[in-house]
Symmetry: C2
Subunit: 129 residues, 2 copies
């Protein structure tokens, strides 16, 4: 599975970079993951990739439900997932709109949470504690 996370917002905090690096390292066992910071969001959206938009008006999932989603996308032949962190720049529809919390959480923290949830999803899929 290839996972791409796309955002137009540059990462400012050192701790965000460190946290992402840590989770990306842990994820190498399970998938290929990359983070693209770009203003050209449209270019990053491919038709053949399942698009999940992080969106405060979206639907909440439990960690198990996200794991199920990632797992069943793999089974049904969707080997690419794109997570989009950008409400303003991309107006197209997503395959799924994901809301992480009722709270407005800082974008960089949400990015770390997303990495952690992808890591957690693979642990769940592989029955690892």
């Amino acid at each position: 599975m290839k996972i791409k996370i796309v955002t137009s917002k540059k990462i400012k905090n050192r701790f965000t970079k460190d946290a992402i690096k840590e989770y990306a390292k842990r994820l190498t066992r399970y998938c290929k993951i990359q983070l693209n910071v770009t203003n050209k969001i449209e270019k990053e959206i491919n038709r053949d990739s399942y698009l999940i938009k992080i969106n405060n008006s979206g639907n909440m999932l439990t960690s198990e439900e996200l794991a199920d989603k990632i797992s069943s996308l793999g089974i049904s032949g969707n080997s690419h997932i794109t997570f989009l962190f950008d409400d303003e720049h991309y107006v197209g529809n997503a395959d799924f709109d994901l809301k992480i919390s009722n709270m407005d959480i800082d974008n960089e923290l949400l990015l770390i949470v997303l990495y952690e949830q992808i890591y957690r999803a693979y642990r769940i899929i592989n029955n690892e504690p």
Copy 2:
């Protein structure tokens, strides 16, 4: 307002320490905040402090609602708030059970999110963007 965050779980990741330090610094303008990592949770729970337990079976709030809660506690004379991150070690009731997400999020990340939400609450209370 004095805010105390209590947990029995030692902080392992460097990025968590850095993130907490950053938010604690930003919060000095608004409140006194301290983090107590201890196994003696009961000792940290004072009757005169409003107790909010971070709890997956709790209630979700928006950032604005958390700001309202902190603001109205200040007005009603509750000058202490304790946030408790510890389901296993403390079985007593809290004044409020707060659920941050439907997802199971790593404890250290939740701690960073909580700091950010307290900071965000004070920005909202003070009408700062």
